[in-house]
């Protein structure tokens, strides 16, 4: 599904964000990428959805080598990878329904299909009854659910969540993680980037630990190892 082969990412003049990263994520896996701030975990996520380009090495998603992806192909890649951020990135002037349908609108989907899909994903994230509300009328956890719903509308095979619980309290964070697990159970590969020890330990899923741009451990049903 996802394969990083000897991937490095350097920023001028001499910052090394990732160094010789080798990683293989199988279809349907739930993988937590953990590490301290500045360890390179977010850079790894950005490489996955082509927000950044690798300086060296090869990244393959499915059968697609995205290491040298053409700019015009990036939108195609991003429709296959759902992305969730810590700060939700919702449009404040649009309702929940409009925020989710926006992703389909800009991809040129027909109205009928939008009317079919959006209620389905809102049901998955538990916001069917709040589709007409604006982001400011929702709690942080609900806003993150909208963000997850938007990431799901293209029915991606991979969901990358970069610190999705970073702005949430413990209860809401737990709800979001449960939702991600549910999505994973439906067959979507989930890559969770986090530095939340409790969440990682509670998940009991594969944990890849990054420190100073290098993978220092990769354990099935692992735990948060960094002190």
């Amino acid at each position: 599904m996802i394969r990083f082969s000897n991937v490095s990412k350097h920023y001028p003049p001499n910052t090394c964000a990732l160094e010789h990263v080798n990683l293989h994520i199988k279809p349907g896996e739930f993988v937590s990428i953990v590490g301290q701030s500045g360890s390179g975990k977010t850079t790894l996520a950005k490489l996955l959805f082509a927000e950044e380009r690798a300086t060296k090495g090869k990244i393959v998603v499915g059968d697609w080598d995205i290491s040298s992806i053409h700019t015009s192909d990036i939108p195609v890649l991003r429709r296959q990878i759902g992305i969730v951020f810590q700060d939700f990135k919702l449009l404040s002037r649009k309702t929940v329904f409009e925020n989710v349908s926006f992703a389909l609108e800009v991809a040129g989907e027909e109205r009928k299909r939008i009317r079919d899909i959006v209620p389905q994903v809102l049901k998955i994230v538990g916001l069917s009854d709040k589709h007409h509300r604006y982001p400011r009328q929702l709690s942080g956890g609900e806003q993150q659910r909208v963000s997850i719903a938007r990431a799901l509308v293209h029915r991606p095979k991979i969901l990358v969540a970069d610190e999705p619980t970073g702005n949430l309290d413990t209860i809401h964070a737990h709800e979001i993680i449960q939702l991600l697990k549910k999505i994973n159970e439906y067959g979507t590969t989930v890559v969770l980037v986090t530095h939340d020890r409790d969440i990682v330990n509670a998940l009991k899923k594969r944990v890849v630990t990054i420190a100073d741009g290098r993978i220092v451990s990769d354990i099935e049903r692992g735990k948060y190892l960094i002190s």
């Binding site: 890649l77 429709r79 926006f102 992703a103 027909e110």
Partner: protein
Amino acid sequence: MSFLLSVARLGKFTFQNIFRNFWLSFITSTIFVLTLVTINAVLFMNVAAKAVLEAVEQKVEITFSFLPETSESIVTSAQGYLRGFSQVRDVQFIPSDEVLANFQDRHQADEVILSSLDELGENPFGHSLVVTTYSTEDFEFIREAMETPEFSQYIKEQDFTDYQLVIEKIKSLNTRTRYFGFGLAALFSLIAIMIIFNTIRVAIYVHRDEIAIMKLVGANDWFIRGPFVLEALLYSFLSTLVMVAIVFAVFGALQIQMTLFFGDAWQGTVDYFRDNAFIIFGLQFATLALLSLLTTAFAMRKYLKT
């Protein structure tokens, strides 16, 4: 269907861009209109000046007054001689009686002149030839042609109405107006370029969140850039429409006064604009749109990294 839907959505985002920054859009369009109106004012002055010049040139003539004792056959021979030149538009023979009648008409209020004529008891005027040419620049040639001994000995005087000075003044004024107008149009064009650049830059800034999300969810590049391109085109189109309305409104409002002042030249100028409206305004729209698109492309390249 999908294509039409995408176009409709592009249109929706474009109108959102315009109305969310209404005053900026208004100022941009106003500067565009000012630029176009200035260009059209210069064009109008140019066409009107040409029409006035033509009208003046048609009225300009040289009158050769022959000595009273010159026979009609000599004068008609001179008439034929002059008609042989390609520069000559027409040569009119005025018999001495008519010359006298015209003179009396012109001076009917002047008792002294009329009584002097009575005292003479006979017609002091000879026959005349009134020569019109295609261009005032040919007058010198005609005067030299009539210096031939065959006719010069019979010519009492030649009356060259001094329209040349008027013509030169109109030409000079037109040239100066044109330079000033083009200078003004260039200045407005420069301002228009800077304004559209800033408008697109601000639009990109205002929509930065939407753009970021569009990129995040896999919007095509043309879907992100399209609204800004359409916005620039729409400003050009609306400004051209407003300008056309202004131009014809001005024509309508000034019809009576300008016809009195310019005569047929005014109507000729209005007709020129009306007959060539599609080309004149179409070209102006195309130029403005091209200018806007280039500026927008530059602004997007600088501020919109997709």
